[in-house]
């Protein structure tokens, strides 16, 4: 499955959000990871009948399509929110009243 973001990049986006309230890109990233898990899971399934093959192929292609759509979505959201697209750092303006510890 072709991907735009690596697993580490998705984790990095999620890491910066931590909590739900400021986590729109993180929610998308989380579902992308879920789709990758789904894709990997069905790749490991046994093909014992023609139906099995058809089911797994269908899941693989739809997971890949969904992946592509959500990756585009994530990319667009990160640009809208003005994230640094090289480092994938959340802009300070999105952070909730941070305190330096």
């Amino acid at each position: 499955m072709e991907t735009k973001f690596t697993d580490a990049q998705l984790s990095h986006i999620i890491d910066q959000s931590l909590i739900y309230q400021c986590a729109c890109p993180a929610q998308v990233a989380k579902h992308l990871i879920g789709l990758r898990d789904l894709y990997a899971y069905q790749q490991g399934c046994l093909n014992q009948t023609d139906t099995d093959v058809a089911v797994h192929n269908r899941i693989a292609s739809d997971a890949a399509r969904a992946q592509s759509v959500l990756e585009e979505c994530l990319h667009a959201v990160l640009i809208l929110e003005k994230w640094d697209m090289h480092t994938l750092e959340m802009p300070a303006s999105l952070q909730k009243t941070p305190r330096v510890i």
Binding site: S11, H12, Y20, P98
Partner: protein, 333 residues
């Protein structure tokens, strides 16, 4: 609830660390330390009273597996919470969770209310455990440690058993003069200091304080080495009295003693009665300041190495038909 549950937060991001601190600091009964990196803390030597660790792991952080494993190995009672990204990051933590090295694994993004509730429940749970442990420790101070313990398994008034034990009485001499020369409060504080130290020494020598007797204590020792331990303890008490500038006399006797619970279901107390309790009490009253007066039977059983040879004589003791063979022991320090 007292502020006694220490929580350590590890998070390499100042921003998310501040969010965690903000959430967790609202929880009563706890205090926080927040660190940027796990490398700043030795997992084997956590700050005093640390009971809970919250680790927010970031993808680019150093791998925390060894640190987490060491946390639980060195501090088995510690509650370890890890917050991690879903997918591979979470999967790498699963073996530690399954091995019991991680108690709670949260997937990012987290629900802050769920996190705060989990931490709050843990603080409450750990405070309760800590309080129970303290109460248990306090209660143990009043309980015997050996076979006598079975008396307390069914603490019924009137239930008694015979035990071979060594009985020791201590008494502060000249207390009437001390009372008249000082205020009641000053005297009481001094009495508490002297008796408190005696009680500590009795416990240290595997004995049990049965009760205070005004200016002294009644203590018992049991087990094969009871006579030896009682004499050793008596020497320690006299040495301590010398340092405290207190005049103390001690009486010791060994033999069968009836032990049991007296009182009513509403008010119970443990007590010892019998000939040897009377005898030890009488010997204590007869002992000079700084002296230990013990029955010869106790001395013979003790196999004790005295700093100066005890003076043995037969003493007429009130309430006893025949003179009792005793030894006067004047410890040298």
């Amino acid at each position: 609830m007292s502020d006694s549950i220490g929580i350590l937060i590890f998070d390499s991001s100042a921003y998310t660390r501040s969010l965690l601190v903000e959430r967790i600091a609202r929880i009563n009964g706890s205090f926080l330390h927040a660190y940027q990196s796990i490398s700043l803390v030795d997992a084997k030597q956590l700050p005093h009273q640390t009971s809970l660790v919250v680790l927010n792991h970031h993808t680019q952080d150093i791998q925390p597996f060894e640190f987490i494993a060491e946390l639980k190995t060195s501090n088995p009672e510690l509650h370890v919470m890890v917050i991690v990204s879903p997918g591979n990051e979470k999967r790498t933590m699963d073996p530690l969770r399954l091995a019991g090295k991680i108690d709670a694994l949260f997937e990012k993004p987290i629900d802050p209310e769920a996190l705060a509730q989990h931490v709050s429940e843990q603080v409450h749970h750990l405070s309760g455990k800590q309080r129970m442990a303290n109460e248990n420790l306090n209660l143990l101070r009043f309980l015997p440690t050996g076979s006598l313990r079975r008396i307390f398994e069914k603490p019924e008034p009137g239930r008694a058993e015979l035990f071979d034990m060594t009985v020791m009485f201590t008494d502060i001499r000249d207390s009437s003069r001390l009372i008249s020369e000082s205020s009641a409060q000053t005297y009481f504080a001094r009495l508490n200091t002297v008796l408190g130290e005696q009680a500590r020494l009795i416990r240290l020598h595997d004995g049990m304080v049965v009760k205070t007797t005004g200016d002294g204590l009644l203590a018992i020792f049991e087990g094969a080495a009871r006579c030896h331990l009682a004499l050793k303890c008596a020497h320690a008490i006299q040495h301590c009295a010398l340092i405290q500038k207190a005049s103390v006399g001690l009486g010791i006797s060994d033999g069968l003693v009836l032990t049991g619970i007296l009182g009513t279901p509403e008010h119970l107390h443990f007590d010892v009665i019998g000939m040897h309790v009377h005898l030890a009490s009488r010997l204590c009253a007869m002992a000079q300041a700084g002296e230990i007066l013990a029955t010869q039977e106790t001395i013979d059983k003790a196999h004790f190495e005295f700093s100066s040879q005890p003076l043995t004589e037969k003493i007429t003791v009130r309430g006893f038909d025949n003179p009792v063979s005793c030894s006067h022991i004047q410890p040298n320090y």
